[in-house]
């Protein structure tokens, strides 16, 4: 084992135990607080665990609906956002005009659109997906645009002078150069997409984890609400992990 590896091992070992202790402390504090309150006010970790197991069908069903909405909105944000970023990076006029519009729209928290969207579109997947789209679009566009703009102009000139086809130009020259920032935007957009979908569903949607948490409130089932939160957290974390792994795999050619 090299000195670096030994150091790394020691550092990890040095951090893992306190990390576990920290989580244990959190769970202990939760259990302590729950002991002072009746289960219909604050259920303890054991109650929540049992609820998660008992209601896993419901949780899975709602998780699927939420994931679908996130996928719809996020997919649209990527599908529209990346080309849009390319346009903004390429054309100063478009950058100013569309950029101003985006700046205005970006300032409105996506969640603020829910009442209007409920009026216009009702409770279907559309409203939630649009909120997700609005949440994810701006970070994706902003980071991707910065990424595209950051590709060294010399490289672009060289590619053009060498007669690169549009396909090679975009896929082999521009994208790899812009990739790190694009990914950063994709990750940020994903996090915001999750925040947005939960917020949208909490107000009124047809099914979904946020809706389930809302219903749990109406029925005075905080254990179900917490179970829903656990599910959301787990899904968000898992999907973020997948995204990071995809990023590492794609960028593995970088030193």
């Amino acid at each position: 084992m090299s000195a670096t590896e030994r150091l790394a091992g020691a550092a990890l070992g040095g951090r893992r135990l306190p990390g576990a202790l920290g989580i244990a402390a959190l769970l202990a504090a939760w259990a302590l607080a729950a002991a002072r309150w009746p289960p219909h006010v604050l259920p303890g970790p054991d109650v929540v665990l049992r609820t998660v197991l008992d209601e896993r069908a419901l949780l899975l069903h709602n998780a699927a609906r939420t994931l679908w909405r996130v996928a719809l909105g996020y997919g649209a944000a990527v599908g529209i956002g990346l080309p849009l970023a390319g346009l903004l990076a390429g054309s100063p006029l478009a950058d100013r005009q569309v950029g101003s519009l985006l700046t205005l729209l970006r300032a409105i928290p996506p969640f603020a659109w829910t009442p209007i969207l409920l009026l216009w579109l009702g409770i279907g997947d559309g409203s939630a997906a649009i909120i997700v789209f609005l949440g994810a679009l701006f970070p994706i566009v902003r980071q991707a645009r910065a990424g595209f703009a950051a590709v060294p102009p010399a490289l672009l000139l060289a590619a053009r002078n060498l007669g690169a086809s549009p396909r090679i130009y975009w896929i082999d020259v521009v994208l790899p150069g812009a990739a790190p920032m694009v990914f950063s935007g994709l990750r940020l957009g994903w996090a915001l997409a999750w925040m947005s979908v939960v917020a949208a569903e909490l107000v009124g949607a047809d099914g979904g984890l946020g809706q389930m948490i809302l219903d749990a409130r109406n029925l005075a089932r905080p254990d179900l609400a917490i179970a829903g939160m656990v599910a959301i957290g787990a899904l968000a974390a898992a999907s973020e992990g997948l995204l990071t792994a995809a990023e590492r795999h794609t960028l593995r050619w970088r030193p």
Binding site: L21, I23, A25, R96, I108, I213, V230, I232, G233
Partner: protein, 250 residues
Amino acid sequence: MAPLSPAVTRWGLVAALLGLWELGGRTLVTDPRTALFLPLPSTIALAAAALARDGTLLAAIVRSAGRVAAGAGAAVLVGVPVGAVIATWPRLGAALDAPLRLVRPVPPVAWVPLTLLWFGVGERQQLAILAFAALLVVVAGTTDAVAGVPPALLSAARNLGERRLLLRVAVPAALPGVAAAVREGVGTAWFVLVAAEFVSASEGLGVLILEGRDLLEPARTFVGMGALAACGAVTDLALAALQRRWTRWT
């Protein structure tokens, strides 16, 4: 041809869209019920004037801004030290960081029902959810900022034997990152404010937005959204200017 004035090149598209909206609304739409759901820009402007005149708009802005300030303030007071600790002491830092990292993927909005259970409906609950949301962001940003201080800088200061110098070196080096974290925290607070107010406030911009739906006066909703955007932008610009100042003298 003379070059177009910068204002046109910047805002031409926005103005054109607004014009289309107004014209289209006046000419193409025949169902009177549509007005109940989609107001024209002119209607929105009139509503904004009315709300400004009777003081509702200002009161809403003051309330919401106050909540954001209080929540973000609390988050900064707690979050910056915690973030610094996490970056400086590895073991204690890991102990503090692990539960935060566990909780972070859950969107702050999902906590709203629980905070209602614990704090009841009211200002404490609003503060709790805003502070919590901002806290997670501030801690993460501060940790990165402090951890990003070049070790060479620190060891150089240490070698020179001055412990005070350590502070005088580390703090300015981390400050830009911390400023960025604070800015993000405030932005997050504005982001979450709407959700918080939707659920349990009786006055504020989020309430204004919701009222537009409840009263079927969507112009009011748009006024609220516009004011919210403006407030968020103004605070962000102010903090950005502050951040630039801090970055400059380090």
